[in-house]
Symmetry: C3
Subunit: 142 residues, 3 copies
């Protein structure tokens, strides 16, 4: 779960930038779920492949987020989350003068498989163990 | 909103092709929403990475569209839209002998952030200003 | 439909691997739908673009699947399908010591266009012909 796909200009981020962004984004989710659930994929996009409003751009970052493990229980909770994402990415995006946009989709929990396992439900014994060990392991409960 | 991802053979489109396609696709949406909402990303896919029906293809275009700002109010309206997309891309795809396929997903409006803002609802004062100025700006209404 | 996007380390798969995986994955779907419906796209991801749990990885495969033509009628049916996918990809992923994860999203059937056509509904005369001929052709029924 979350699968974060970050589409960015080819030279926007150094490896150090990407390392730091991945950790900061992972930290947000890791408060409530196994750390290894967080997938961050960077996709460098050449300028002649990146159009906003019909115009080629080389200073725009577009992020998509597929959420699977958790659905927001309310709009208030989604706003807190979205505000936090905007804050966390600011040093690499806004503060460098780049424009940006992101959106989140929520996909079905039961259509998800990690390392051949069906991930445990929230707050179960199995999930607590996956969090503690930071790796998937055989389920001990349904 | 819309995020259009165009997966195409590596040498299918020139920069001029991409410029023109991006403008034509953006024009469709810009009738009813801010022009800068439209994100078009081209993804060149090498032949040994592109399989249709289990067969490697170098003459196929696959498009995905994430719609956020608007949901189709009826199947009739979605058909008009889909027919228009097929017509608009034809000069670069069908007329060049390439095969193609696309699908649209609709994702939650409130899980979307542009330049740190929550985009205004359809037909509001704020949206009209975003359309007129073709850029995001602080909301003046809830 | 289905659109399978396979994000993998740059050198994980040879062309022969990809040919074989694409065929095996297509075979699963082709039991119940036209073979040409199955789109498999491989996306090589450099190590410095691929983060799991905030850590750079060069031995992880992440697959996303957009299902359009069919929705699972029950959780039992989705489990049979997911178990089959895990089994089919094992020789190229698990058996080579790579970790992996995938998830499926189901998107609206009527927001889908193949070669300019609206694909026929399941088990119709038109779909049977599309299956038999393994190509799209004008609809003869609504």
């Amino acid at each position: 779960m979350p699968l974060l796909s970050i589409y960015h200009p080819v030279n926007a981020f150094s490896i150090e930038d990407k390392d730091a962004m991945a950790v900061k984004l992972t930290d947000i989710y890791a408060r409530v779920m196994p750390r290894f659930y967080v997938n961050v994929l960077f996709h460098p996009v050449p300028e002649d492949c990146f159009y906003i409003g019909g115009v080629r751009r080389n200073n725009f970052v577009r992020i998509t987020m597929d959420h699977i493990a958790r659905a927001f229980p309310s709009e208030a909770s989604s706003r807190r989350f979205i505000d936090m994402i905007n804050q966390v990415i600011a040093p690499w995006v806004k503060d460098r003068g780049m424009d940006w946009e992101f959106h989140i989709d929520e996909t079905p929990f039961h259509l998800w498989s990690v390392q051949g396992y069906y991930p445990p439900k929230q707050d179960t014994v199995d999930e607590k163990r996956w969090i503690a060990e930071n790796r998937p392991s055989p389920r001990t409960h349904d």
